[in-house]
Amino acid sequence: MGLQSKHMLGLQHTPAQDILTILDTAGAMKDIIRRDIKKVPTLRGRTVVTLFYENSTRTKTSFDLAGKYLSADTVGLSASSSSVRKGESLIDTARTVEAMGADVLVIRHPAAGAAEIVADNVRCSVINAGDGIHEHPTQALLDMFTIREYKGDFSGLKAAIIGDILHSRVARSNIWGLTKLGAEVSVAGPATLLPPEIEKMGVKVCTRVEEALAGADVVNVLRIQLERQKQALFPSLREYSRLYGINRERLGLAKEDAIVMHPGPLNRGVEIVKEVADSARSVINEQVTNGVAVRMALLYLLTGGEAVETAD
């Protein structure tokens, strides 16, 4: 059984069953990554094109590796290269890429809805690698895969997402995915960085970080973009850190075995202190490995692969 949709545009419209299928398949993919020779011929002859309108070495590398481990041909186009330049419309660029023979188009774009616009105009599969502040489904899927590795199940699980919720596509995708699978999600951040009516997405909204942390199984700390301070959305990094920074004392409010996550890259000493980021509770490095596994699973499933059950 494959996935219901031929695209992965976001988790809002992805059924719970598809999320579980992806996570299960990612388990099998992770076994491949653990091998000495990390290469299987599954996607031989398939072409994956990454179209990045925003810089993100991490996400791009993760997709590149995922494609390579599955023997797909991967080609990257970035906003600086000539084929993606101002003047040519997004739709034209996407159609051109498709005409070159792409089977899967991975797009990262600063504008919300960009992946959906592309999906509406091409026949190949489209993966949203982040569109503005809308969604970043592969990040949420890797977060969920990591949570499941440590916590086993989502139902009744308490997850806290801390930081700039307003500008976070990671938060939105995590909220959709986690609530669909039965987790209780709290979000916390300064009032100026909380999106309006976000409680209607089914989350508890806090301005006091302590409230969100109390009894949490998972603490997902978001990166605070330094430019938001320049936009005067909060007064200073110092005050942000004092009110919302995750330190050992605050983490003490969460469950004893709570895990700490971060989509990276970290602003150490701002949203998270070094001793927490590097502690045994931190699963930040595991998230990176899992990112490749989840993206392998998606590439595999979207190109028609059958779901694979995890061996264990």
Partner: protein, 432 residues
């Protein structure tokens, strides 16, 4: 040339009733209105079962000429108006150059005389270049033919400038039309701020951005005695502010667009850039409040804010697309489908908001059917059905969020100065 309109129901907004009568038009003027008229050498228009209305007037359109002729021209925009049942339109000054001086006003009037299918009333700018700093030569604008002043799209941010503009306009008897939007509250917003913007990840435009400026301009209107007309009102709070101001006797009027009484921010789902408009599509509660405002008379006018853009301009990421949608060719159908058929407005009330009231607010002729009046007449078939097809639009702009929508109640004839310019949903003349 004689025209005899037979068997229709005459809509008289002033009397709130429909009477069955024939209308005789001679040399562009209504010369008789009686039952069972006959005239041997007149062209007969059978209007049985149809509504014969004073010519509809859209007091808020963007004709894009001069400067943006790739989007629309005075020729194509007035053809769209004719097809939509409008016999006159008032055009906003955000052209290039801005209509902030008499020569531009005269240029528009000259083009309209040469190429226009319906009447065109230019609106002048409030400030030079619509930059919000210095007020325009309003006396000159008025003398050249401007019927009101507005900095639509780029609202006057500085309250001191707006106050002076109102004092000055008031002295000249000009209405100030205000697009109410505090840009500092809108920032990069592209849709209504609320749950939908949160989910879609699009920067929001809060209702307060509109309401703060509606409140300010009502207060300034009260202080200066100026007649102020609030353009495209869209929030429940703004409607309530106008309602209260009217109770106090402030000389304030307002308009709503068909898209604001029909659609909500739910329509933005899917990122269709034809739903990107300023003010943005609001919530269901706002739509209900706007309908209430229409029903109780708080909202005087229905105007389209017809804002054409090319397909290329709109076929981009939502955040990068220009604001605006076309409205001239769907307005009547939406009024009848959403307001008349549902009992929110009677036919005379609807026609008052589409004709009589805009004529009164801009102090232009029309708005009533009477012997001796110029024969600007719109005939509406309240039973006619149509699916909106942008491909059939007479205007250049096809950017409508209503494609495929079923409408009931459509204009079937537009008569300007006694001349039939639209018949059976087709523009019959073009002076181009």
């Amino acid at each position: 040339m004689k025209l005899l309109i037979k068997g229709g129901k005459l809509v008289n907004p002033e009397k709130q009733l429909l009477e069955k009568a024939d209308v005789l038009v001679e040399n562009g003027v209504i010369t008789a209105m009686e039952s069972s008229l006959s005239e041997r050498d007149a062209e007969v228009v059978e209007a049985g079962g149809k509504l014969v209305c004073p010519g509809l007037i859209d007091m808020h359109v963007h004709l894009r000429e001069p400067g943006f002729e790739h989007k629309e021209t005075i020729a194509t925009g007035t053809m769209a108006a004719a097809r939509g049942g409008f016999t006159a339109v008032a055009c906003m000054p955000n052209t290039n150059p801005v209509a902030d001086n008499a020569p531009v006003i005269r240029f528009i009037l000259d083009r309209a005389a040469a190429e226009g299918t319906v009447k065109v009333y230019p609106i002048g700018a409030i400030t030079k270049g619509s930059k919000g700093k210095e007020i325009t030569e309003m006396a000159d604008l008025k003398a050249a033919g401007a019927v009101a002043v507005s900095d639509d799209g780029v609202p006057v941010h500085d309250a001191g400038v707006m106050r002076r503009a109102m004092q000055y306009a008031s002295m000249l008897g000009l209405t100030v039309i205000s697009h109410c939007e505090d840009k500092s509250l809108v920032a990069e917003g592209v849709m209504h701020q609320g749950y939908q913007s949160t989910v879609l990840g699009l920067p929001g435009m809060p209702a307060e951005a509109e309401e703060v400026m509606v409140a300010r301009d009502i207060i300034l209107a009260e202080a200066t005695g100026c007649r102020v007309h609030i353009a495209h009102i869209s929030t429940a709070g703004a409607v309530e502010l106008v309602r209260q101001a009217k109770k106090r006797g402030v000389k304030v009027t307002c308009e709503v667009t068909p898209h604001h009484f029909t659609l909500t921010d739910q329509a933005v789902n899917g990122y269709d850039t034809n739903t990107k408009v300023n003010p943005p599509l609001r919530t269901a509660a706002d739509v209900a409040a706007v309908k209430q405002g229409l029903a109780d008379g708080t909202i005087d006018v229905i105007a389209t804010d017809h804002a054409p853009h090319t397909v290329d301009e709109k076929e981009v990421e939502y955040q990068y697309a220009p604001f605006g949608l076309v409205g001239l060719e769907t307005a009547v159908g939406l009024v009848f489908t959403e307001l008349v058929d549902t009992g929110i407005l009677t036919v005379p009330e609807a026609v008052a908001k589409l004709s009589t009231n805009p004529a009164r607010i801009m102090a232009v002729p029309g708005g009533r059917l009477a012997v001796g009046e110029q024969a600007d007449i719109t005939i509406i078939d309240p039973e006619a059905l149509e699916k909106v097809d942008p491909g059939s639009f007479a205007g250049k702009g096809k950017n409508t969020p209503f494609a495929g929508r079923k409408l009931k109640g459509l204009p079937v004839m537009t008569i300007v100065k006694g001349k039939i310019v639209m018949k059976d949903r087709r523009v019959t003349v073009s002076s181009v």
